[in-house]
Symmetry: C2
Subunit: 197 residues, 2 copies
Amino acid sequence: MKVYIEPIGRLVNEFSKLPGVGAKTAQRFAYKVVNMSKDEAQAFADAILNVKNNVHYCSICGNFSEGDICEICKNRESQTICVVKEPKDVVAIEKLNEFNGVYHVLHGTISPIDGIGPNDINIKGLLKRISEGNVSEVIMATNPDVEGEATAMYICGLLKPLGIKVSRLAHGIPIGTDLEYADEVSLARAFIDRKTL
Amino acid sequence: MKVYIEPIGRLVNEFSKLPGVGAKTAQRFAYKVVNMSKDEAQAFADAILNVKNNVHYCSICGNFSEGDICEICKNRESQTICVVKEPKDVVAIEKLNEFNGVYHVLHGTISPIDGIGPNDINIKGLLKRISEGNVSEVIMATNPDVEGEATAMYICGLLKPLGIKVSRLAHGIPIGTDLEYADEVSLARAFIDRKTL
């Protein structure tokens, strides 16, 4: 049954494409837009098109960039490269204000089940950066899941023979968690990787 | 700290204006747009602008309409008017496929605390429709909250002297609810409005 007039139905449909947005939420978003001023709606639409037109990938690290080279590659001199799966991982790490090196975005992880092999992600770019010299350490910060681990191991295997130090983010129980609530895999890993005090 | 490049930050900011969308969700939405094709992003932006340009209010009932008069007012002959607070209430009732009459959208309810009086909502339009004749019943379907009840009572007081039948949606315990989980106000109302079998 047709419950919306066409323009609203169309916008509800567009909002439904966003991750985690169902029919009810899409409807709320659409009504919000209906009640926006013309200027607000224009700014919203412009922001969407602007992203498509002005967001590129950094030709060095593969992170989002407005120009050919991203702000991080432009402004930081570092011999440490942090390898991540996606650009949003760069955002998560940058928020920490903890890491001052540069990044390399793989745009995926090796996943044979999904037909994604080493050549389908940006490993070649990483090897090229390393062959150009001036890299002392590569930190593998891919996710701690099967694909992330496999990718970290694969890249480690490529870099070790080149004499590059390769490290992996530490796993264990999250800080602030009660032991009884920690998931079993993390707790087991915390035992294996226990530190001498 | 600046964690996003400008175009993405701007879009995250726009998405944050949607109801119930926080920083994390806005970021997910923005990344989704970044990964859309140009055509998809264009369709999204167009749908937003299209809503602003092509959604008007029906000059008879106040519901959303593409033209001057909405599809419901155009296609239905009815002496029964269902009065609701907002256009989305029309959608909720239409989905039932239960009511075949016409609507009247108040665009608000009387709320002295917020400075909204009877003249600030579309009561005048309702009285005009009734004075033009051919209305036998007005169903007050405003929300069962303080403002909705007050508005229903106020409008009832205006229409009763005109010889119009005014009714109110039934309140009580929702169907399928266990008595012990029903809220107290609804349960109390269910007792007061009990029906003889």
